[in-house]
C-alpha cells in the first residue's frame, strides 16, 4: 500500500471520484469508496509532506578516448 506511487494513487483516486459521481453504487459500495478514497488522500498527503529530492550524480566521462 505504501509502495503505491503518487501517480497510481492519483489515478485510483480519480477513478473512485468518477465512480462515486456516476451514482450507480449501492450505499455500502459508496461508503467503501469514500473510506478508501480518504485513506488514499491521507497517504498522498503524507508522501508530499515527507518527500525530499534525491539526487544521484554520475561521474564525468572523458569523450576524448575516441569511442565514436
Amino acid at each position: 500500500m505504501t509502495e503505491k506511487t503518487l501517480e497510481e494513487a492519483f489515478a485510483e483516486l480519480e477513478s473512485k471520484l468518477e465512480a462515486l459521481s456516476a451514482g450507480h453504487l449501492s450505499l455500502a459500495d459508496a461508503l467503501r469508496m469514500y473510506e478508501d478514497g480518504i485513506a488514499l488522500i491521507h497517504n498522498c498527503e503524507e508522501k508530499l509532506a515527507e518527500a525530499e529530492l534525491r539526487v544521484t550524480r554520475l561521474s564525468a566521462v572523458s569523450t576524448s578516448a575516441g569511442s565514436a
Binding site: F10, S26, L27, C44, A51, L53, V61
Partner: protein
C-alpha cells in the same frame, strides 16, 4: 636565365618539351615554401562533385580565380555543405596539373568564414534535419505527469544545474534526479553532451538538457548535429533549456519541449506540490459530496414511498441525517471511520424511532438493517443464499442468524 638564352637561339633541339616545362614548373612550385601549407580565402564557384567522390571548384575573388581539388580523403573534414557563393578558408598546397597546364590548389581542409559562417552551418544542419522530419510536431512527445526519475544533462559547474535542482526540490521532491554531467562549450562539448544523454537513455522518464546564458560561441555546441541526433533518438521526452529566452539552438528545435530558461524547464517536468495538495483537497470534497448525494437519493426514495401511515418523523430523521452529513462534508480532516459511525448511528436511531411509533410496528421490522458478514447490506433476495450468516441491526442491538430460505415476493 639559361632558358631564355637558349630560346632566343631559335634552335628546336634546344627547346623544352611541354612535359619538361610543366615538370620544371611543378618541381619549382612544389618546393617553394610560399605555395605549401598555405591558407587561401575566396568564394566558391563552379562546384562539381563527380561520382568518384572528388570535389572540384574554383576559388575566386573579384578579379582572379584558381581551380581547386578536394580529394576524397579530405572530404570528411568538410563539416558543412559546400556550395557556390560561400566564402571559405582553404588550407592546402599549390600544385601544377601537367595534363592541362593548369595551376591547382590541393585543398586539405575547408571552413566557412565571414560573418555568415556560423549561420551558414546553422542553416545547413537545420535544413538537413528538418528535411528528415526531426522537427515535426508529430514527433513531439508529451511530458510525463509524475516523473519518477528526471535526467539532467548539464555542466557540473554551471548555474543551470543549480537552478534546475533548486526548482525541483521546491516543487516536486518526490522524484529522483539523475545528473549526467557534460561539457557545455568548446570543441569537445558536442561529443560530451551526446555521451551524457546516451548514458541515461532508458533509465529516466524525462530528460532536461540545460545550459545558462552565454555568447553565440559558447552556445554553439547545441547547434551541433550530433547533439541534435542524440536528442532525437532519446527514448524519453527531452526538454531543452539553452541560454536565455532569445537564444534558439538546433537542440531546441529537435527537443520535445523548449523551455525559455533552465528554471522553466524544471517547472515543466514537475507538478507543483501545491497543485497536488489542491487536487487532494478537492478530491476529499467530491468524495464527501458523492456520499451525500447518495443519501439524498435514498431520502427521495423514502419520501416517494406511499405508505398509509407515513410518519413525518421518518422524513425528519433522514433530514437530520443529511444535515449531519453536510457538516461532515466541510470537516475534511475527519476520519472515514467517524463518518461511518455517525451514519450507522443515524440508521440505528431511525430503526429505533420507527419501532417506537406503534402503528408502524410491523413496518419497523422492514427497516431493520440486514447485512452480510463482510458488512455489505442485504437489500435483495438475490444477494443472499440459504445457509449464509446474516446480521440484523434493530433498534437496540444486533441479531446474528443463518438464512434458512429465501422467497421472492410476488408483486
Amino acid at each position: 636565365m639559361a632558358i631564355e638564352t637558349q630560346a632566343s637561339s631559335l634552335d628546336p633541339r634546344d627547346a623544352l618539351t611541354v612535359s619538361e616545362l610543366l615538370a620544371a614548373l611543378r618541381f619549382t612550385v612544389s618546393r617553394h615554401p610560399a605555395f605549401s601549407n598555405i591558407l587561401v580565402r575566396g568564394e566558391v564557384a563552379d562546384l562539381s562533385r563527380p561520382p568518384s567522390g572528388v570535389m572540384y571548384f574554383n576559388l575566386a575573388d573579384a578579379s582572379s580565380q584558381i581551380s581547386c581539388v578536394l580529394f576524397r580523403s579530405a572530404v570528411p573534414s568538410v563539416r558543412f555543405e559546400l556550395r557556390d557563393g560561400i566564402e571559405v578558408l582553404a588550407e592546402g598546397d599549390v600544385d601544377v596539373f601537367p595534363a592541362k597546364g593548369q595551376v591547382q590548389f590541393i585543398v586539405r581542409s575547408l571552413s566557412p568564414i565571414g560573418r555568415g559562417a556560423y549561420w551558414l552551418s546553422f542553416e545547413q544542419v537545420r535544413d538537413r534535419l528538418a528535411a528528415e522530419g526531426l522537427f515535426d510536431a508529430s514527433r513531439k512527445r508529451p511530458l510525463p505527469r509524475f516523473p519518477q526519475v528526471i535526467g539532467l544533462v548539464a555542466s557540473e559547474a554551471g548555474a543551470a544545474m543549480h537552478d534546475v535542482l533548486a526548482v525541483l526540490g521546491r516543487r516536486y521532491p518526490l522524484a529522483e534526479v539523475l545528473v549526467s554531467p557534460c561539457l557545455v562549450q568548446g570543441a569537445e562539448a558536442p561529443a560530451s553532451i551526446e555521451v551524457a544523454l546516451d548514458r541515461i537513455a532508458g533509465v529516466v522518464d524525462v530528460a532536461v538538457v540545460a545550459r545558462g546564458g552565454g555568447s553565440l560561441d559558447d552556445l554553439w555546441c547545441f547547434n551541433d548535429e550530433r547533439v541534435a541526433r542524440a536528442i532525437a533518438r532519446f527514448p524519453a521526452p527531452v526538454v531543452s533549456a539553452i541560454g536565455h529566452e532569445t537564444d534558439v539552438t538546433i537542440a531546441d528545435f529537435v527537443a520535445d519541449v523548449r523551455a525559455p530558461t533552465p528554471s522553466a524547464a524544471a517547472e515543466l517536468v514537475s507538478p507543483a506540490r501545491e497543485d497536488l495538495r489542491r487536487f487532494l483537497g478537492m478530491a476529499e470534497k467530491r468524495l464527501t459530496s458523492g456520499v451525500r448525494d447518495q443519501i439524498n437519493a435514498m431520502q427521495r426514495q423514502l419520501e416517494s414511498l406511499s405508505i398509509p401511515f407515513r410518519p413525518e418523523s421518518v422524513v425528519r430523521l433522514v433530514r437530520a441525517q443529511r444535515q449531519r452529513l453536510k457538516s461532515l462534508e466541510w470537516s475534511v480532516e475527519r476520519e472515514a471511520r467517524q463518518f461511518l459511525a455517525a451514519l450507522q448511528g443515524c440508521l440505528r436511531a431511525a430503526a429505533a424511532r420507527l419501532d417506537a411509533v406503534s402503528p408502524m410496528a410491523t413496518i419497523a421490522r422492514g427497516f431493520a438493517i440486514v447485512s452480510r458478514r463482510d458488512g455489505s447490506l442485504v437489500d435483495r433476495i438475490g444477494t443472499i443464499a440459504p445457509g449464509e450468516t446474516i446480521s440484523i441491526l434493530v433498534s437496540d442491538g444486533t441479531i446474528e442468524g443463518t438464512v434458512r430460505t429465501t422467497e421472492r415476493r410476488t408483486p
